[in-house]
């Protein structure tokens, strides 16, 4: 799956799509693939504060729990309610309908310090090389 050029990415495999101070956050295709069948999602409610590098929720597959880390700091404006009944959307459309939260970003400049798609692709290529070694 192609990694959208307009997104930014973290080493913990979250993506963020920002316009001004509003942003959408999700987990990457690589992350959903590593997790396997997603069966449960726990997200903060609107109004909750998130801090860059700190966990704000979790995604669970049958076999494991994975914490999700905030790429940037800010305030949650919406959590994806669709995931409550259809967590598997994260597997089928991780960069689209499987988004996790929308946030009002505290300092929009923070977003640009994250990896772009090219850097992220190089990062996961390295990971995959390690895994098959």
């Amino acid at each position: 799956m192609a990694y959208p050029r307009e997104f930014r990415y973290t080493k913990e495999h979250e993506w963020i799509s920002a316009k001004g101070d509003t942003a959408t956050i999700g987990i990457t295709d690589y992350a959903q693939h590593e997790l396997g069948d997603v069966v449960f999602v726990e997200l903060p409610a609107a109004g909750a504060k998130i801090t860059a590098g700190k966990t704000f929720g979790s995604v669970e597959s049958v076999k494991a729990v994975s914490e999700i880390y905030a790429p940037v700091g800010g305030e949650v404006t919406e959590a994806n309610a669709e995931l409550h009944n259809k967590p598997e959307t994260i597997n089928s459309d991780p960069h689209g309908a499987g988004w996790l939260i929308k946030v009002k970003v505290a300092s929009p400049a923070e977003v640009n310090s994250l990896m772009d798609a090219t850097a992220y692709e190089a990062y996961i290529a390295e990971k995959q090389k390690e895994a098959s070694a």
Binding site: H13, G36, S58, S61, V62, K63, V65, S66, E67, Y69
Partner: protein, 389 residues
């Protein structure tokens, strides 16, 4: 996202089918020091693999399991006496060609490991043991069988062990063997030609709660790969898929089969684990018996129960069970969503006072209290008779 797994420092061991798993694109994990497939995205992943085993058939590489052969020395009876001493079930009840679930115990009545004991001959036994405890087990067996007239051999690296599991397992294996599988009862084994390999051990055993077979073929890579591929080819029309340790775990959990370091360990005794029916106190002396005698008089301080989540949340291994006051009163040993039941299930140790069916306990999930209810186990039991012939 962080899966929280910590890599072990030592280089993991590989089964003869390692290259096959990688070619199939399996996700690999370090399990008990072994580089093993956890799931195959090409099979549809864990849930699809699980469902294939419940409804049709799946193929597992379980070559990481260990094998210990105990044979009599100069005099008949040495092997039986040794096996009786180191395991809790009554091996004298086994006919040649029969196997049973058993366990090796410490003098404290806690678990060295659980084992399947196969009686290959009057004076010849094969103990199939867990991967993560192989070295410990073989040392234990060697040390504790010394007084007996027997020979102990480790055969773990001699065999590639394949598990063919599911209601259609018999139909798959039937195509590849001359052995009369219909005559083979549950927990019995035979020897036959499989994929042209003569004298292959075929056991009607497994770790999934379904009907199924485990076959033991030479660990030569070319032979192992050929058999693996022939089983998949033969099972194609019956819907066979390769299955990983992920599905193996959810399948065994639904069937309430114990996993070492989870439901059983060196800190848990037989009564607590609820494995009474495999422990034959009336047979001759065995290691752990005296402690179990005392423990039985003293009564249990905790019991293994099945739980089903009432609130939203998945109880995971190691999570705490809490009482009304928020104090820890027990621990989850295994927990997962159940692909068959579509519920979140768990096994946990709780005080006997909270073990009655219907009792509601709280599980601490990321500092929240989520309610769960004690339910009957096994969570899943296969239909008595196969419908399709």
């Amino acid at each position: 996202m962080d899966s929280g797994t910590s890599p072990l420092n030592s280089v993991p061991r590989k089964t003869p089918l390692n290259a096959v798993h990688r070619r199939l694109g399996a996700k690999m994990v370090n399990f008990g020091g072994w580089d093993m497939p956890v799931e195959y995205p090409s099979s549809g992943g864990l849930v699809a693999e699980h469902k294939s085993v419940r409804s049709a058939v799946g193929l597992f590489d379980v070559s990481h399991m260990g094998d210990i052969r105990v044979r009599s020395g100069q005099h008949p009876g040495g092997a039986l006496a040794a096996v009786q001493h180191i395991t809790m079930n009554d091996a004298s009840m086994l006919a040649v060609g029969q196997a049973h679930y058993s366990a090796m115990l410490y003098p404290e009545g806690t678990f060295v490991d659980d084992v399947i004991v196969h009686r290959l001959g009057e004076d010849d036994f094969l103990l199939v043991i867990n991967a993560g405890t192989r070295e410990k087990d073989i040392n234990w067996v060697r040390a504790n069988t010394k007084p007996f007239d027997c020979r102990v051999e480790e055969l773990g690296d001699v065999y590639t062990q394949l598990a063919i599991q599911g209601p259609k397992a018999r139909d798959v294996l039937r195509k590849l063997t001359d052995a009369n599988l219909d005559a083979l009862k549950n927990y019995w084994f035979t020897h036959g030609t499989v994929c042209g390999l003569t004298n292959t051990l075929i056991a009607r055993t497994g770790y999934t709660g379904e009907d199924g077979f485990e076959i033991y073929v030479p660990s030569d890579i070319a032979i192992s790969e050929r058999v693996w591929n022939e089983v998949l080819e033969a099972g194609k029309e019956l819907g066979i898929v390769p299955c990983g340790l992920g599905a193996r775990n959810t399948l065994r959990l639904e069937a309430k089969m114990a996993l070492y370091e989870h439901e059983i360990s060196d800190k848990i005794n037989v009564w607590e684990a609820g494995l009474d029916r495999y422990c034959k106190m009336e047979k001759s002396e065995f290691i752990g018996r005296a402690a179990l005698e005392n423990a039985r008089t003293a009564g249990r301080s905790r019991m293994l129960v099945g739980l089903e989540m009432i609130d939203r949340g998945i109880a995971r291994d190691g999570y705490r069970c809490l009482n009304e006051a928020g104090e820890a009163i027990g621990v989850v040993t295994s927990g997962s969503p159940s692909p068959t039941l579509c519920k979140n299930i768990a096994l946990a140790y709780v005080p006997p006072a909270l073990a009655a069916l219907g009792t509601v306990v709280a599980i601490e999930i990321r500092s929240q209290k989520c309610r769960a209810q004690v339910v009957p186990t096994p969570f899943y039991k296969r239909p008595k008779k196969a419908i399709a012939q």
